[in-house]
Symmetry: C2
Subunit: 397 residues, 2 copies
């Protein structure tokens, strides 16, 4: 079977997370991704611990299946080589602070002159324009400014960070969606375009529901522990031994009565405070206390069994090890093996593309720094060994 984006070539000067996460998705969908790295040190994530035999697991996880060439874009020879290379690509991805590519003479306006079909993708913290455009951003500053931390935590408590770098990764997915949409448009118009993905914009989109509630009520949402602020019960409970999650999302009294019978508290099903979801949400503190009292009498396995048998949503609160060993996660092939020079193979999280007529997923090892410099300069640009050697002497590759 084909990979959906087979034949699409992506030149990727992005570093660290948001950009490389985007091109990981695009590579797993079948595009050929050529990663451009600075000679000597490469993508800064190559030096981030922990490492296995000197390879950063941060780097390996999101750069599998890509090729690597070195180019110093601050040098004229590096810029010229980059401009020559861009002719051969459909998509460019960069995530420098806005203005950086223009300083290198590699902005969209310049590059589109010689490649009008180019889809030029800029990912930045706050966008290419606006009062914050030129500020450097990192995941935590964008999550802070975008409001997600203000609603994560215990009620009345300090703001907390969701445990993964979601400002980076959501921007990466949105950039990938923008890229494929631009490819779709290009096959009708013949023209590329400039995509301007802002991590902060993406955060605002992910906050659509808290924003809708704020506009609807004038009340500023705060942290609510594990609860969903629009549904109840819809949270984590503490059983006698472990945590577990259970949830319903319904205004029908008969669904609530059923939930109560299943947990062995039919009396709660009749309680006037709790008939509909909206009722329960208004009285959620009393509700949580009553449910918690019952749930704490038996182990999590008991509650997971009775709710599962009854067809009610429930799940254990898995740690990361348990996720990697989970029967459903493994059945779905979500832990993938890729080749790795020093360990033979290495396990990474897969991407979630399951398409009946397409092959998707990691296409190979993460590249060594500059592993494909010579072959790509030779094959795409027709450079001779001597010309390549000259570029190397000048520090351009």
């Amino acid at each position: 079977m084909n990979r959906p984006l087979e034949g699409i070539r992506v030149i990727d000067v992005s570093r660290i997370l948001a950009g490389p996460f985007c091109t990981m998705l695009i590579a797993d969908l079948g595009a050929e991704v050529v990663k451009v790295e600075i000679p000597g040190s490469g993508d800064p994530s190559r030096s981030i611990e922990p490492t296995i035999n000197g390879d950063s697991v941060f780097f390996i996880s999101i750069n599998r299946g890509k090729k690597s060439i070195t180019l110093d874009l601050s040098k004229q020879e590096g810029q010229k080589t980059f401009r020559d290379l861009v002719q051969h690509f459909d998509v460019l991805v960069e995530n420098f602070v806005p203005g950086t590519m223009a300083r290198f003479g590699l902005d969209y306006e310049t590059l589109k002159k010689s490649n009008p079909r180019l889809i030029y993708t800029s990912i930045s913290g706050y966008g290419q324009d606006g009062p914050w455009a030129k500020r450097p951003a990192l995941d935590i500053t964008v999550m802070a400014k975008g409001g997600l931390m203000s609603i994560t935590g215990l009620p009345g408590g300090e703001p907390l960070r969701p445990g993964a770098s979601l400002a980076d990764s959501t921007a990466g997915i949105f950039a990938a969606l923008s890229i494929v949409s631009a490819l779709w448009q290009r096959q009708k118009t013949g023209e590329g375009q400039h995509i301007d993905t802002s991590m902060l914009d993406c955060q605002v989109t992910m906050m659509e529901n808290p924003i809708a509630r704020y506009f609807g009520t004038g009340r500023i949402p705060g942290p609510v522990g594990t609860r969903n602020p629009m549904a109840a019960p819809f949270q984590v409970f503490s059983a006698s031994d472990h945590y577990f999650a259970a949830a319903i999302f319904t205004n029908r009294p008969e669904d609530w009565e059923y939930f109560c019978r299943v947990m062995g508290r039919p009396d709660l099903g009749e309680d006037a405070r709790f008939r509909s979801n909206n009722d329960r949400n208004r009285n959620v503190d009393s509700l949580t206390e009553l449910l918690q009292t019952t749930f704490s009498t038996k182990p999590a396995a008991h509650w997971l069994r009775v709710f599962t048998e009854a067809g009610i949503s429930c799940a254990p609160v898995n740690n990361v090890k348990e996720v990697t060993e989970d029967e459903q996660v493994l059945y779905r092939g979500m832990i993938a093996a890729i080749p790795n020079a020093s360990t033979g193979t290495w396990r990474v999280a897969n991407t979630p593309f399951k398409m009946s007529e397409s092959t998707t997923g990691p296409a190979g090892a993460a590249p060594g720094l500059g592993e494909h410099t010579n072959s790509i300069l030779r094959e795409m640009l027709g450079l001779s060994d001597k010309e390549i050697e000259d570029l190397r002497k000048k520090g351009a590759i």
Copy 2:
């Protein structure tokens, strides 16, 4: 300018959040989305509080720019009408518990016979196959099973939920990316396909970094407050009045010395425990305590000013109200106005698609229940007023 997905028709039987979030993105990219709802009550999210003049803000926010028709898919007449309609669509989106569409006689194998170009998109909690496939899922159960809650919270503390329904929304984005990739593939092969998006699969992808760290070290990541577990300093600090975020991500000692000079603690720049990012990460508790001591002496505005002037990443921890009034958020048009019958206009979060040659964003009001039933049955299927009336009497629409 064109919208990227102009001319693409999507028939959407999904409800609540993951599916409607996906089709919101697709609609904002220019596709025509026809939402199919159950007669009488419609999408369950229509009855979720808070409401404005009877309209659920949950519903309005993610269903703007769509059309609505009613069809009872459990009735034979509803199924036949649906099958007739599907001929006119490029994409179908559903997020029932797996098996439901087959019970209605509306599974992919059946529908592709008469529309082989159809891109049939199933979004589910755990996927269409595997031991957990048939279990009902809600956002909280997927976040629990996928591990994100186990790394969100205070060190040593209970698992917490990121404050937004991220298991739903990330699945929605990944489904949208799969759909546009399948459209791209279809223009080469002429064939549609079945997309099987699992919310749990999507969670695993978002957990690629904690999973990489676990595989790299054998240590199970736990919650670390506001910290990034691979970088330091990269967290929220408490100034004398407010919280603020500040971060660097570098192994170069000169970057760290600069950070220390900017904050007025050049002595820390020389401290052997903190020279590189990896050094600082190993000694993060001491580092945090030392930084926090200095930061607590002055207000957040002071630290934000000096770090901003120095070009170091920093941001306030905004609440939801502050997000909707933020100068950069407003400059970027991330709060959009849509028409609304009872209020004139209504504000919603925009989507983050900024493309130089495309129009994107909300295309109109959220539809009333069945607002477009008559017009669509008339125009697409050529039904007469009498035939439509008959369907209504039978409760099929």
